[in-house]
Amino acid sequence: DVKVTQSSRYLVKRTGEKVFLECVQDMDHENMFWYRQDPGLGLRLIYFSYDVKMKEKGDIPEGYSVSREKKERFSLILESASTNQTSMYLCASSGTSRGYTFGSGTRLTVV
């Protein structure tokens, strides 16, 4: 089975901190994604990457950046965390089969 691993299940950070969320997949997938999930809003795409060192903005990229130095790893960076970035963050990957596999999520609280 494809496995998508997010390094932290829960995180608590202070306002203004720089935050790194890590995601690793083990199936050599080309495409990786970062979503945030909020009640009543569903999943919203923050950034995605279709190749190493390639990245594209999703629907809500403001306040975030990403890094993909290796194919298996896709990092989401909150440059200066704010309370409105408190959310569940989901990483996903997909290959040519067009199916998506999600990680178990990181629940980030910014205080």
């Binding site: 495409n31 994604f33 979503y35 009543g40 809003l41 569903g42 999943l43 919203r44 795409l45 995605f48 279709y50 594209e56 999703g58 989901l90 996903a92 997909s94 067009r98 199916g99 998506y100 999600f102 990680g103 178990s104 999520g105």
Partner: protein, 118 residues
Amino acid sequence: AQSVSQHNHHVILSEAASLELGCNYSYGGTVNLFWYVQYPGQHLQLLLKYFSGDPLVKGIKGFEAEFIKSKFSFNLRKPSVQWSDTAEYFCAVNAQGVQNTGFQKLVFGTGTRLLVSP
């Protein structure tokens, strides 16, 4: 921009009742359609997907969905729900992403919370 609408935000059913969750999308081209489920405290799991062929798709746990192209719909159904079906359900559609790459990103609806009472 592509979008997905899920009309029911909260649904409450008794066990053995039939379920239908609505999903409509706005995209004029060829689509791939998905239903995902998120059980309490768990990660998103794929219930079923439609890429082409028979518009009636069967998924896991007795769920099925019907793609009706003329209505831009992909409604999820289950004839008889169980308490264990309590979860949040998300409809999603592939949307064209970066030009010329053929790459497609997944756009989600806002989700439907289903509560099944025993």
